[in-house]
């Protein structure tokens, strides 16, 4: 196979690197470290962070792309498929390839619509009859013994739950050991005699939530996530757990693929927003005068155009550019990816104004404080004052805004895709899923599973982001300081 680095992959991994560096840096800053420790104490916040980590894992697996090698003919150079796959696609190969004809309900063994079937009678004659045909893949292992489907599903789910419980207990024990060790290196593999009591005590403390880090919330969330993931994994091999859509594609696969799109929109956009907002906001507040006037004029002008319309105008124009330059893109995935990235840039360029205004206001206040005046009196250069004295004291606003924006952007993607100015129609996202499925409620019987799955996953993702944002705001906002 041939690795492919899409532009959005690059940005995602850059963000991961930035996150790691940021974590390392803030661990060395006593104030920031204390604030993050406060976030760590918040139970809803940590439960949300655990959920987000699960989503991030899916998204990151989906950000390692490659082009599989086509079966090579002798003596020819290796050829690669024009289809770009990701590691997640490879893991989900059964879900991706087992396509039905059209709609099928969750966990169904038969199709959604009746068809003319030829049924072979025991005496060898063939009778034509209208009935629901068996699915090609859903419950295929059952053979003719369809009645066993319920028992089979329950058995698989129970086995998966047992595995989940085992893994979860092992994780709990690991954490309890960690707490029992309390600072001792976790690698100490041999338990000294007489320690079991401490281990039991640690277990109790963990259970009561009497730890500096909200381990019990993390473990409880992890338990739920593990249970759901294991049951889904146990059943997905044989059934379409969330059903299939109009073209017979598995909805579970689509939902998992949507996660990456949502994460890219929510995270890469901030990559565009942050430098603009931070630089322009602080500079306007610090220098005042004509620089301030100019920057204020800039953001009032940008702000005065209604957001959706500005995005619509920019996306329409971008579409013209993409359509008139087909030679730029080697594969359809690259084109869709670039469109996604362009959408992030447009969203970023239109949404930096709010944060910039906040930062300008704060910088106006800070520049009058004694320590800044002292720095000026010492002849410290303006650039150094901005970087060393103002920026660290505005960091909490930046972090709060960063976390708060995420959920709004994920929700915006769905709306923009509905309006027709969102991601490429070929790219799987919550927005395109909802857009394709919204007319299905008008069918008889109702096709509810695509919409429900998309809305449910989006709800969980956004709710987790909102809860984490609240925890971060409570911990970082100095007005909330206890």
């Amino acid at each position: 196979m041939q690795p492919v680095l899409l532009w959005s992959d690059l940005f995602i991994w850059l963000l991961v690197a930035a996150g790691v560096i940021g974590a390392w840096w803030s661990a060395r800053q006593p104030l920031l470290a204390a604030a993050w420790a406060r976030v760590g104490r918040s139970r809803p916040g940590m439960a949300a962070a655990t959920l987000l980590a699960a989503f991030a894992l899916v998204g990151l697996l989906d950000s390692l792309h490659y082009r599989p090698q086509l079966p090579a003919k002798d003596g020819e150079k290796a050829a690669y498929s024009i289809e770009v796959l990701s590691v997640l696609d490879a893991l989900l190969t059964p879900l991706r390839t087992r396509v039905e004809k059209t709609y099928s309900a969750p966990l169904a063994t038969r199709a959604y619509a009746k068809e003319m079937l030829e049924i072979r009678q025991p005496d060898g004659s063939v009778v034509k009859q209208r009935d629901y045909p068996r699915l090609r893949h859903g419950g295929a292992a059952l053979g003719d013994d369809e009645g066993r489907a319920g028992a089979d599903i329950a058995g698989r789910a129970l086995r998966a739950l047992a595995v989940a419980a085992l893994v979860w207990l092992a994780l709990c024990a690991l954490v309890a050991r960690r707490i029992a060790g309390h600072g001792a290196p976790a690698a100490a593999s041999i338990e000294p005699a007489g320690e079991p009591l401490a281990f039991g005590a640690a277990w109790c403390r963990l259970w009561r939530g009497d730890t500096a880090f909200a381990w019990n919330a993390v473990l409880a969330t992890l338990g739920i996530v593990l249970a759901i993931a294991c049951v889904l994994a146990g059943l997905a091999g044989e059934y379409h757990v969330f059903g299939t859509d109009k073209v017979g594609q598995d909805v579970l696969y689509q939902v998992l693929k949507s996660v990456r799109t949502a994460l890219v929109i929510g995270l890469v956009t901030t990559l565009v927003t942050l430098p603009l907002a931070v630089f322009l906001g602080i500079v306007a507040g610090y220098f005042r005068g004509w620089i301030d006037d100019l920057i204020q004029y800039l953001y009032t002008t940008l702000n005065s155009i209604p957001g959706v319309l500005l995005i619509a105008a920019a996306v329409l124009m971008m579409q013209v550019v993409i359509d008139t330059h087909p030679q730029w893109f080697a594969t359809a995935a690259e084109r869709a990816d670039l469109r996604l990235l362009a959408l992030c840039f447009i969203l970023g360029l239109t949404s930096w104004t709010g944060l910039a205004r906040l930062l300008r206001g704060e910088a106006l206040k800070l520049r009058e404080l004694e320590y800044v005046q002292a720095a000026q009196a010492f002849g410290v250069s303006d650039l150094r004052i901005l970087g060393r004295h103002l920026l660290p004291n505005l960091m909490h606003i930046v972090i709060i805004a960063l976390v708060m924006d995420f959920s709004g952007l994920v929700l915006a993607e769905a709306v923009l895709s509905y309006v027709g100015i969102g991601v490429d129609p070929t790219m799987i996202s919550f927005g395109t899923m909802i857009n394709n499925a919204r007319m299905e409620l008008g069918r008889e019987p109702v096709v509810w599973w695509s919409l429900t799955a998309a809305f449910a996953f989006m709800f969980v993702l956004v709710l987790a982001a909102n809860l984490l944002a609240d925890a971060v705001r409570d911990a970082f906002d100095p007005r909330m300081a206890r």
């Binding site: 004029y297 009032t300 002008t301 940008l302 702000n303 005065s304 155009i305 209604p306 959706v308 319309l309 500005l310 619509a312 105008a313 920019a314 329409l316 124009m317 579409q319 013209v320 550019v321 359509d323 008139t324 959920s407 929700l411 769905a414 709306v415 509905y418 309006v419 027709g420 100015i421 919550f430 909802i434 919204r438 409620l441 008008g442 919409l451 809305f455 989006m458 709800f459 956004v462 709710l463 909102n466 809860l467 609240d470």
Partner: protein
């Protein structure tokens, strides 16, 4: 006061010019009219003659800024910038792809948009402020806690869900109201109930939470303690003092959106098939009708600037501390 308003109005002019230049750059400089013609005509019918004809029909065949061929004032006026962008200041938006006059279309479509947006706004404000006041009254009790939980959950639900779910529940299952459409006069009422209801419900989460923090901030101030100390009941404190003072940030915060109500709501109108400005915009975006999108961008920014000016004026009217400075 008058001088203040005049100053604010004068300040709006450079912003409007900026918006105008920005949209012009977006629509004509990033892409040439040739690109637009190719897009509109489709791949099959593109010939140089067809493109020229398309451009000539819409007046896109002139130079962008300076027309060297024309004499005198014509050098400036017979250009795309003057005809398509500068004329918007006079309320002349040109014609849409289907040949209709955009300005006229906007005037007729404004009414249905307002019929939805205005009740949604007023009802929504009333509901969210009352709910927030309720939560503030029962602060630090289980009711407050679960109320906030409800708000966070409600603001995490996509706006599309409220619309799709509401239509499904009330129109398809209960058959209480028609799924979509619009009528004249009193008949319009039954088409309006559901969109307004959904608009109100979908706004509850985030607004209530915001208003609640405003109320709580106000409750912790000194004058509230004084009011309690002189023996006022909690109800009297809340309605007589806190509500009045907290309404200042709330009202001035919402004044800015009042002019934008004219623009209607993109989602609601297109889902409910209401012939307002929101669905007009969506149709234009889907049909890639650049003239209409450009006109809507311009009108939207004018209304936003009007909202900003109204905000400033309302600040001075409501808050005497600002008026006397």
């Amino acid at each position: 006061m008058l001088a203040y308003i005049v100053r604010r109005l004068l300040y709006a002019i450079p912003i409007l010019i900026g918006v105008n230049l920005l949209t012009f750059a977006l629509f004509f400089v990033v892409n040439t009219p040739d690109d637009m013609a190719r897009m509109q005509l489709g791949v099959k019918r593109v010939t140089p003659e067809a493109i020229e004809k398309w451009k000539a029909e819409r007046g896109y065949d002139k130079p962008l800024f300076v027309n060297g061929a024309a004499a005198g004032v014509g050098a400036v006026t017979e250009t795309i910038f003057f005809e398509k962008s500068a004329r918007m200041f006079a309320g002349d938006f040109g014609r849409a792809e289907d040949g209709r006059d955009i300005a006229r279309e906007i005037r007729t479509r404004m009414v249905p948009s307002l019929a939805i947006a205005l009740p949604t706004f007023v009802l929504g404000l009333f509901v969210t402020v009352s709910f927030a006041l309720l939560l503030a009254f029962f602060r630090a009790t289980p009711l407050d806690f679960w109320g906030v939980v409800l708000c966070v959950a409600m603001m995490s639900i996509s706006g599309l869900f409220y619309i799709i779910g509401g239509q499904y529940l009330f129109s398809k299952i209960f058959r209480l109201v028609p799924i979509s459409g619009f009528g004249e006069g009193l008949d319009a009422l039954r088409f309006l109930v559901l969109p307004v209801l959904i608009g109100v419900v979908s706004g509850i989460g985030s607004s209530t939470r915001w208003y609640r923090t405003i109320f709580l901030e106000e409750i912790n101030k000194d004058y509230v303690r004084t009011a309690r100390a002189k023996g006022l009941s909690e109800t009297a404190v809340l309605f007589g003092h806190v509500l009045r003072n907290a309404l200042i940030p709330i009202l001035t915060g919402v004044v800015v959106v009042i002019p934008l109500l004219f623009m209607g709501s993109l989602l609601t109108e297109s889902f409910f098939g209401i012939p307002g400005l929101g669905s007009y915009t969506i149709d234009a975006i889907n049909a890639q009708d650049f003239a209409v999108v450009r006109a809507m961008v311009f009108i939207g920014s004018v209304l936003y600037i009007v909202g900003l000016i109204l905000t400033d004026i309302s600040y001075t009217l409501v808050d005497p501390r600002i008026r006397f400075n």
